[in-house]
């Protein structure tokens, strides 16, 4: 009898320990901080499905939008046990949650995995007098602050791209803010603004349909979409390389203090998932550039974005908490 009790006790104590060793042993939840159907959501669903197949457990994707810059979802994911069974699906805009008062942490509390980003492109309407980026920027230099430019909302990644382009080329636009990328592209089509900066993924349909004419990619390399070759803006303006590219970083993250072996398992599954045909095809179809950085490297990229966003927002006077108070270094 005593023996039996002892065995039971040993089993009771040992079983969870044995289970804890083998990660993952149950379903994983991926909390996406943006709404269903957005870029971050679709990206997380595609990659999670592939990772689930590799890990051998389900990854349930749930959406938890709201708060400031996805702070609600991040706070929820971070509030769960740091055991790797809760992943947070996030994007580069989340780096502003701290300075906007959404939560009191820096991005370094995460161990991120960056899936991909879509490069930014500057476009005009087909009947615009500006045929090349050079013509547009020279016109903007000749008459500063008169050419109207849209780039999503104030302080969005596209706005940052526009600002960097202004800095690198010396041109000055009259920036008109819109609630998002789609409304600013729409405004370009109605002729309210003369040029628009958003991501290639967002503009692809309009470019291919002939509703917008791309002038240049704001990345070191050009891009070819349906036989339309888009040159890189860096060719005419080498000075841009000092400020650009500022790329989207869509991906997922686990808290930085989850056990090392969990991080290793997840990183391995993540890398394998990105190599699958399904993910590669999705990226190609939707004009994303696969990134694939994990851990240290990915953290560095997020830290860079964080400092860039935080200090730009401070300049735009839209921060609630100063970047200094959070310990975010200047870019």
């Amino acid at each position: 009898m005593k023996k039996l009790v002892l065995i039971c006790l040993v089993l009771l104590v040992a079983a969870p320990m044995a289970m804890a060793k083998k990660y993952p042993s149950r379903d994983i939840t991926n909390i996406v901080v943006w709404g269903a159907g957005g870029g971050t959501d679709v990206c997380n669903r595609v990659v999670s499905a592939e990772m689930a197949a590799i890990l051998g457990v389900n990854i349930n994707v749930v959406n938890k939008p709201g708060g400031v810059a996805g702070s609600l979802g991040m706070a929820e994911a971070y509030g769960m046990k740091h055991d790797g069974y809760t992943i947070c699906g996030l994007s580069e805009s989340c780096v502003t949650a701290g300075v906007q008062g959404g939560w009191d942490k820096k991005m370094d509390v995460w161990y991120p995995f960056i899936v991909a980003g879509s490069p930014d492109v500057i476009s005009v309407t087909p009947d615009s007098p500006y045929k090349t980026l050079k013509e547009l920027l020279e016109a903007a230099k000749a008459a500063p602050k008169t050419i109207k430019a849209g780039a999503g909302g104030s302080g969005s990644i596209h706005h940052l791209n526009l600002l960097a382009m202004e800095k690198g080329s010396g041109a000055a636009f009259n920036f008109i803010p819109y609630p998002g990328s789609a409304p600013s592209q729409n405004a370009a089509m109605t002729g309210e603004i003369s040029c628009v900066v958003t991501s290639l993924a967002e503009q692809a349909q309009l470019i291919r349909g002939g509703k917008l004419r791309p002038l240049a990619m704001l990345t070191p390399d050009g891009f070819t979409i349906d036989a339309i070759a888009i040159p890189s803006a860096f060719a005419d303006y080498p000075g841009l390389s000092q400020y650009l590219p500022i790329m989207q970083a869509i991906g997922m993250a686990v808290p930085a203090d989850v056990p090392e072996e969990v991080k290793a398992t997840l990183s391995d599954a993540f890398t394998k998932a990105l190599a699958t045909d399904k993910v590669q095809q999705w990226a190609k179809d939707n004009y994303y550039v696969i990134n694939g950085k994990t851990g240290e490297e990915a953290s560095k990229e997020f830290a860079k974005l964080e400092s860039l966003f935080a200090w730009t927002l401070l300049e735009l006077n839209t921060t609630k908490v100063s970047p200094e108070a959070l310990g975010i270094p200047k870019p």
């Binding site: 709404g35 269903a36 159907g37 957005g38 870029g39 959501d41 679709v42 669903r45 994707v61 749930v62 959406n63 709201g66 400031v68 008062g101 109207k148 104030s154 302080g155 009259n174 008109i176 803010p177 819109y178 609630p179 789609a182 409304p183 729409n186 405004a187 089509m189 109605t190 002729g191 309210e192 603004i193 692809a204 349909q205 309009l206 291919r208 349909g209 002939g210 509703k211 999705w282 179809d285 939707n286 735009l316 006077n317 839209t318």
Partner: protein, 523 residues
């Protein structure tokens, strides 16, 4: 030949869907779910579509689309239930319906009212759908005529017209109510430069005032208090009542229906402005065109037919720019865009080339959703009316509880309850003083749009107001607004009666002369 081929494909899809049990089951269940979402204050069409988007992720694209569109159609229609039965619109789109529907219910004609709105909604959806198929390039070209100035003027007109219509005796009261709403909409960080306005340091105010708690507070609380104070029944239900409207009645209202549907499609196609404004504008148009404008406000058929046709026709209108330009025309359509992206369909100018049958598929689904909605609606009407037989002492507390849950469920925030209560008390005081509530809610909904677009327009024009007069659409809207104002001035009214008197006098004189002449001839 091409059109015939397309028609063939359309009926092929339609036939195939109508015999697939899975499709039928989805159509009925999601339409019913939509109606429930629409009818319950606090649960909106946007929320319904959003929730279903996640649930239908694993489904095949066409099935998911069936579920989402049925939900959308059902929810826009469902709002009329609570409008008619208890004078608390389930969605902002149904606020105008309450103007006529509730008096009808008080007369004991709730069943007939629901029958009419059901039929009007179904016809509205189908007309909207027809426009979507036939004129989509035209409608999207129309949508591209709207820049910030036009959006500002349209939003302003929406507030003005709801104020004008909701308070027929003293229009100024309606406008005042609308401007209170406009003021409430200013609270929060401004959308262009994120400057906090009227937030008094509360971080909860940063995101602005949510529409749902205002909608529920403003309509629900005064109604509950009134019923409790007066110990009255919200409405009466006559048990043996015809629900399906007479065929002749519908044929006779066809002019009204087509006009309302056109307004619905037009307004639906504009991004950001949706079902709520469409309902008010078409209500106003119906009143102006009516031979008996004095009957409006007392429960007349024309009113509810106009509002319900227009808000459902909006759906087709909102889908056009979504599919052709990738711009959603209304908040639920924005959720629909997300759902399509999730299924790897990117709406935009290339859609017609990449998925040639997609538009027809959407059309077929909308058509079936409209028919399903009619069947479900008509069979529900008889039973829904029975809630009115509940004693108000039992019924109203339940409504109160639903109001609280509805406000709270939005973002699960207790702050919304603190917001709902004062808004409700303010609304009750306003109702007692004879101020209409609907313009206040419309003001809160359209306020951000008016504010943001006016400021953006001035940023674009660098402080110049001239584009209002040089842009044709803006110019027309501006003069319509001026006309709406002027037509309420006593001077204008006096002038009009005098002119009318003169005209009739001259006419009588002429008739008298003619008769005299005739008389002379006969001699």
């Amino acid at each position: 030949m091409f059109i015939l081929e397309r028609l063939g494909t359309f009926f092929g899809i339609l036939g195939q869907m109508a015999v697939t049990p899975m499709d039928i089951a989805l159509l009925f269940s999601c339409t019913l779910l939509g109606i429930i979402f629409g009818a319950l204050p606090g649960l909106t069409a946007t929320l319904g579509v959003a929730l279903l988007t996640t649930l239908t992720y694993g489904m095949k694209t066409d099935l998911a689309l069936t579920a989402l569109l049925s939900m959308y159609v059902g929810a826009i229609y469902g709002g009329s239930y609570s409008s008619i039965l208890i004078n608390i619109p389930g969605t902002a789109a149904a606020a105008a319906t309450a103007m006529e529907g509730y008096p009808m219910a008080c007369r004991g004609e709730a069943g007939r009212a629901i029958g009419l709105t059901t039929t009007a909604s179904a016809i509205g959806t189908i007309i909207g759908m027809l426009f979507m198929v036939c004129l989509s390039p035209l409608v999207s070209a129309f949508a591209l005529q709207f820049t910030s100035f036009e959006f500002f003027l349209l939003a302003f007109f929406g507030i003005l017209i709801s104020g004008t219509l909701a308070c027929p005796d003293l229009v100024c009261k309606g406008w005042i109510s609308g401007f209170i709403g406009l003021f409430l909409a200013l609270v929060g960080r401004d959308r262009l430069q994120f400057y906090p306005r009227f937030t008094f340091g509360f971080s909860e105010f940063d995101g602005g005032i949510d529409i749902v708690p205002v909608l529920i507070g403003a309509f629900g609380i005064p109604q509950i208090i009134q019923v409790m104070v007066n110990q009255m029944k919200p409405g009466e239900a006559k048990p043996l009542e015809r629900v399906v409207p007479e065929f002749g009645k519908i044929v006779r209202s066809m002019g009204n229906i087509v006009r309302s549907a056109l307004i619905g499609v037009g307004i639906g196609s504009l991004p950001g402005i949706g079902e709520d404004v469409a309902a008010w504008v078409s209500y106003g148009a119906a009143k102006n065109a009516s031979k008996h404008p004095e009957r409006f406000g007392t429960g007349c058929d024309e009113g509810i037919v106009a509002t319900e046709t227009a808000n459902n026709a909006c759906i087709g209108g909102a889908i056009v720019p979504l599919l052709t330009l990738g711009i959603p025309g209304s908040p639920p359509a924005a959720m629909l865009l997300g759902a399509l992206m999730l299924h790897n369909i990117a709406p935009g100018p290339m859609l017609a080339m990449e998925h040639p049958n997609f538009l027809l598929e959407v059309t077929a689904i909308l058509f079936l959703a409209a028919v399903t909605m009619w069947i479900v609606g008509i069979s529900l009407a008889r039973h829904v009316v029975k809630v009115l037989t509940l004693p108000p002492m039992l019924f109203m507390p339940i409504v109160g509880l639903l109001c609280i849950i509805g406000s709270y469920s939005l973002g699960l925030s207790v702050f919304n309850l603190y917001l709902m209560l004062p808004v409700g008390i303010l609304a009750y005081a306003m109702t007692e003083l004879g101020y209409p509530i609907a313009p206040l809610v419309i003001g809160v909904i359209l306020g951000p749009m008016a504010d943001e677009n006016l400021r953006r327009a001035l940023m674009v024009s660098q402080g110049d107001f001239m584009p209002i007069f040089t842009r044709p659409v803006a110019c027309i809207l501006f003069f319509v607004i001026i006309l709406t104002f002027v037509s309420q001035l006593p001077v204008y009214k006096r002038l009009r009666t005098r002119l009318a008197d003169k005209w009739t006098a001259r006419k009588t004189r002429q008739v008298a002369c003619d008769t005299a002449a005739d008389f002379g001839d006969n001699q």
